[in-house]
Symmetry: C2
Subunit: 238 residues, 2 copies
């Protein structure tokens, strides 16, 4: 059980794209964020913008804000926990979506867990779960596998494996692509996968241009679409 | 892109356990739920309670509420889309958490996708994503696999496979258990997995007794804990 005498690492999700705070975050997040004085953030500028969007009255210059991103060395991550050693809570803020799922915040969570502090995740937009909900695919078994490999042999092997896990394990397979390559990926999936497989393309999740469409591969071959440079997540099933 | 001229299937998450609506759902969900007149729900009683918790002024008796659960036949699911054919939006409400991820709502989503309607997932609590955030484990690659098989040989084979996917693919493995068997599962994982593997036990997510603890298997062997009959999700990594 959460120990109220111990400091807490709060994980604050951030709206993706242009969605307003009240559309994608519960009121609890705003109430808690007002009480936190120490933040570890992926990007200082976007974190400051997010804090202002939560509550314009937050005095951002009085807060301690430390950056944790792909340039941070492991020994620096461990040092970021110092405010908790002194009894303070820390808030983690990523660039967009849920912190510590696919960003360096996870390293700080691991440190907090090793030291026995409370770790409290807050509710927010997750393109993985939201696209899965809207796909109509199996949610009893699913895998998120990040990006497909770029090198051709490895990429083809991964696509074979995806096909097998769908057939043998009935496991929904979820992955992402760099947005300017979205169309090339859809064309590749159309070439390589059986016509009766189902592809869900979920783009601009929770934002103004949101579109989540499931079609058979055979129907994607004939479909009109434009996902160019729009953040998109791909789900496969059969 | 979402076509505003077409009816929409809204997927409304529901608080898990005792958490208040404003702690786990954004204001947008409440605004949208007020505009929907046709609901497909997993359980009528809990859906009515949820609607009242969203807004006490909702006149529930004036709404159309249809049940979709494990007893529903496939041909009945297809018929539930009828209000959309007549131009109305439908709201899907599960018992707890995100609808259509691990419940029969997914079948209705599949029908709506086949007919080309809009499907819009709303933000809400997901024990899978929230436990992953707080585990400190790899979120670039993870799989949710539901329940482990009960039959002993199959169960041991699955545990071997879990171990392999963690070692070879660095894929976080996530699963659930019937709450009264939580302790037996932890003891089993302690017996069967290497001492240096990491187990995160996340219980009562987003609720008042929430506890999310990551420890090495060696440390779980010595730990005191009580998860008896508390909804809990398990994550493994190394």
């Amino acid at each position: 059980m959460t120990d109220n005498r111990k400091p807490t690492l709060y994980l604050f999700p951030v709206p993706m794209g242009d969605s307003p705070v009240a559309d994608v975050l519960p009121d609890l997040n705003i109430r808690l964020i007002r009480s936190v004085r120490h933040f570890v953030v992926e990007n200082t500028r976007s974190a400051r913008r997010f804090l202002k969007a939560c509550d314009r009255s937050i005095d951002i210059d009085s807060l301690s804000i430390v950056e944790l991103n792909e340039h941070t060395r492991p020994e620096e991550v461990a040092a970021m926990i110092a405010p908790m050693e002194q009894g303070h809570d820390i808030g983690v803020i990523s660039e967009a979506g849920c912190p510590a799922v696919a960003d360096p915040g996870a390293d700080l969570v691991a440190v907090a867990q090793r030291r026995g502090f409370n770790v409290v995740p807050l509710v927010g937009p997750s393109s993985i779960i939201m696209s899965l909900m809207a796909s109509g695919f199996n949610g009893q078994s699913f895998a998120f596998i990040g990006y497909l490999p770029i090198e051709e042999n490895k990429r083809n092997a991964r696509l074979k494996e995806i096909e097998q896990r769908i057939r043998r394990e009935r496991q929904t397979q979820i992955f992402i692509e760099t947005p300017y390559r979205n169309h090339r990926l859809i064309e590749e999936l159309c070439r390589r996968l059986p016509d009766d497989f189902l592809l869900c393309v979920a783009s601009d999740i929770s934002c103004s241009r949101q579109s989540i469409v499931t079609r058979r591969i055979a129907d994607w071959k004939k479909a009109d679409y434009n996902y160019d440079k729009i953040p998109t997540i791909f789900l496969l099933y059969s």
